[in-house]
Amino acid sequence: MSLSANIAVARDGFRLDVALSVGAGEVVVLLGPNGAGKSTVLEVIAGLLRPTAGRLVCDEVVLFDTNAGVHLPPMDRQVGMVVQDYLLFPHMSALENVAFGLRARGVSRDAARAESASWLGRLGVAELARRRPNALSGGQAQRVALARALAVRPRILLLDEPLAALDAGTRPAVRSDLRRHLGGYEGSTLLVTHDPVEALVLADRIVVLENGSVVQQGPPVELAGRPRTDYVARVVGLNLLRGDATGRAARLIGGAPVVLPHGADGPVYMAFPPAAVTLSPSRPESSARNAWPGVVADLEQHGDLVRVTVDGAVPLLADVTPLAVAELSLQPGLPVWSSVKATEIEVYPA
C-alpha cells in the first residue's frame, strides 16, 4: 500500500503546491509553521476539499485527478482521519463511535460491536467502551478516535495535530503509545504537526512545508543535523549560515568569513548548536576559532542556560550560563564577540 499525491490549491491569495508520497507502513510527518497549508493537504486527501489541480493515487486507485475529472467522495476513499479535538460523536458511547464506520459500511450490529470492542482493547481502552466522549480524558479520547479511524481498515491514515489538545504532562506517554500503534498499522500514515519533537519522535520521514511548498524532506536524523531553511534550523535548535566555500574557508552572503572543519567547494550550509558559541568582550586569540563581532539583541531563559540573540554580520543564537551573563554583564545593546570552533560546524552542500 502506498500513496502518491500532487496537490495544488489556490484560494484567497494562498497557494499550495505539494508533491509527496507515503510508502506502505511508512509514517510521514508534515511539519510546518501555522498557516503553511498542512491541514489543507489532509483535507484534500480526505476528499473534504477539492484541489485546484492535482492527482492522488493510492494503491493504483485514483482518488482524484483533476485532468481526468475524477473526484471520489470522502465515503469512498477508505481514509481514516483523527483531528486535534478528536470530534467523537458526543451522543454516542466510545463503542458506538468506533462501530459507526463499520455500521455505515453495512456490517451487522453485533459484528460491528464485537469488532469495535476488540479495537478498543487493542488500543488499551476496552474498559471505556460504554463511556460518552465527555467522560473521557484527552488521551483516552485520542485512543478512541484512533480506534474509530482504524476500525474501517483505511488505506490512508490522516492525523491532524493528534497530540496538540493534550496537556504537557500526558503528552509524552500518549505520544509513545501513538508511535507504537502507528508501528502496527500497514497503511500509509500522514501526520500533520507544528511540534518538532512530535515530528522527530513519530516520523519515518519528515516533510517540511512552508508557505504552501515543500522546503525540505528526509529522515528525522537528517533534518535534525542538516537543516536547509531558517524555520527548520530554528525548530531543531541550530544556527544556520549560508555561504560560498573555497577550500577550508567560506564567505557568507554579507562578506563575513567562516573557517570550516574540512575543505568544501561551492554554495554550502553551515550549522552549529547555540551551545557551541562562546561570547567574549574582546576578540579571542585562538585561530582555530571563528570569531565575529556583534551586538546583543535579546536574552531569554532557556532551560538551565540563557539564550542570547546576537545581531551583526553573522546573526546567531548563543547558549551561555547565567554565570557568563553576569560576568560579561550581558544586556541588549552590548557589543560582543561570538566565537565557534571550526570543528563544531557541520558543513553540507546547499
Partner: protein
C-alpha cells in the same frame, strides 16, 4: 473544556445573582410596567373564572369538541412541520441552492404576515375557484376549504417558519466537521444526516416543534378565513372562544381561554427541562 461545564455554569449563576443587586431604577420601572401588561390580563382572566360552573362548561359538547379538535390539529400540524420543515432547513443551511437567500427570506414571510392575509392567500390558491383548488376540485373532486385539512394547512402555514428558523439556526451553529468525519468513515449523506446531524440539532428541532405547536394551538386568523368555524370540523379553541364571546357567553369564553393556558403551560413545563438544558 468539557469537564468544566457544570462548574462554569454555577459561576455564571452566582455572578448573575450578584448583578441583580445593581439594577438601576431606570430599568426597574419600565420592567414593572411591562410585566403588568403581560400578567394583569392573565390574572384578570383567572379572577373571573366561574369556578362553580367550571365542570359543567368544561364537559359541554362545544368545549370538548373544540378541545379535541385543537389538540388533534395542532399535533398533526407539528408533525407536518417537523417532517417537511427539518429537511427544508437542512437544504437552506447545507446546500448551495441557487436563490437560497431569497428562499430563506420567503420562508420567513408568514412570521411577519398578518394571519388573516395567510388565510386569504390559502383561500385564493386552494379554494374551489383557486389557482390549484379549481384543478384539484375538477380532477379529483377534492375541496379543501372549510375542512379539518384546511385547519391543518392554515396552522402549518403560520407555524412552519418557526420550526425552519429554529432548525436552520441549530444547523448553522452545529460543527460541520462531525459530518466530515462521518463521511471519511464511509457514511452516506443520509446516514450522516440521520445519525450525526439530526442528533446534534435535536434540541433545535424540539424547540422549533414546541414553538410550532404553540403557534398552531393559538392559530385564529388564517384558520377562520380559510377553514371557517364549523363546530366539530373546523372550530378549534380560539374560534370557539371568539364565537362564545360574540354570542354573549362570556363564561364559556373564559373557560376556553383558561383551558388553552393550562394546556400550553403544561406542555411547555413538561418540555422545559429538556429544552432549557440542551438549548
Amino acid at each position: 473544556m468539557r469537564a468544566s461545564w457544570s462548574p462554569d455554569r454555577q459561576v455564571n449563576r452566582r455572578l448573575a445573582g450578584r448583578a441583580d443587586a445593581r439594577v438601576p431604577v431606570g430599568l426597574v420601572i419600565p420592567s414593572v410596567v411591562g410585566l403588568g401588561l403581560l400578567l394583569l390580563p392573565l390574572a384578570g382572566l383567572v379572577a373571573r373564572v366561574p369556578w362553580s360552573r367550571l365542570g359543567q362548561i368544561l364537559s359541554s359538547p362545544a368545549v370538548l369538541s373544540a378541545l379535541r379538535l385543537s389538540l388533534m390539529t395542532a399535533a398533526i400540524t407539528t408533525a407536518v412541520c417537523v417532517i417537511c420543515g427539518v429537511p427544508l432547513a437542512w437544504l437552506l443551511a447545507r446546500t448551495e441552492l441557487p436563490g437560497r437567500s431569497l428562499l430563506r427570506g420567503l420562508v420567513t414571510v408568514p412570521l411577519v404576515l398578518p394571519p388573516v392575509i395567510g388565510g386569504v392567500a390559502l383561500l385564493v390558491t386552494f379554494g374551489r375557484r383557486g389557482l390549484l383548488g379549481e384543478w384539484l376540485y375538477e380532477t379529483f373532486g377534492i375541496s379543501l376549504p372549510f375542512t379539518t385539512t384546511a385547519v391543518v394547512m392554515a396552522q402549518s402555514f403560520v407555524a412552519m417558519p418557526f420550526l425552519v428558523v429554529a432548525v436552520e439556526g441549530a444547523l448553522r451553529t452545529a460543527d460541520r466537521r462531525f459530518e466530515d468525519v462521518a463521511a471519511t468513515l464511509g457514511a452516506s449523506g443520509w446516514t450522516t444526516f440521520r445519525r450525526v446531524t439530526l442528533p446534534a440539532v435535536a434540541p433545535g428541532v424540539l424547540a422549533g416543534a414546541v414553538l410550532s405547536w404553540a403557534r398552531a394551538l393559538g392559530e385564529f386568523g388564517a384558520t377562520i378565513t380559510f377553514a371557517g368555524t364549523f363546530p366539530g370540523t373546523t372550530r378549534t379553541m380560539p374560534p370557539a372562544a371568539y364565537a362564545a364571546i360574540n354570542s354573549g357567553d362570556v363564561q364559556t369564553a373564559i373557560v376556553l381561554s383558561l383551558l388553552m393556558i393550562v394546556v400550553s403551560v403544561t406542555v411547555l413545563v413538561a418540555l422545559r427541562d429538556r429544552w432549557v438544558r440542551s438549548g
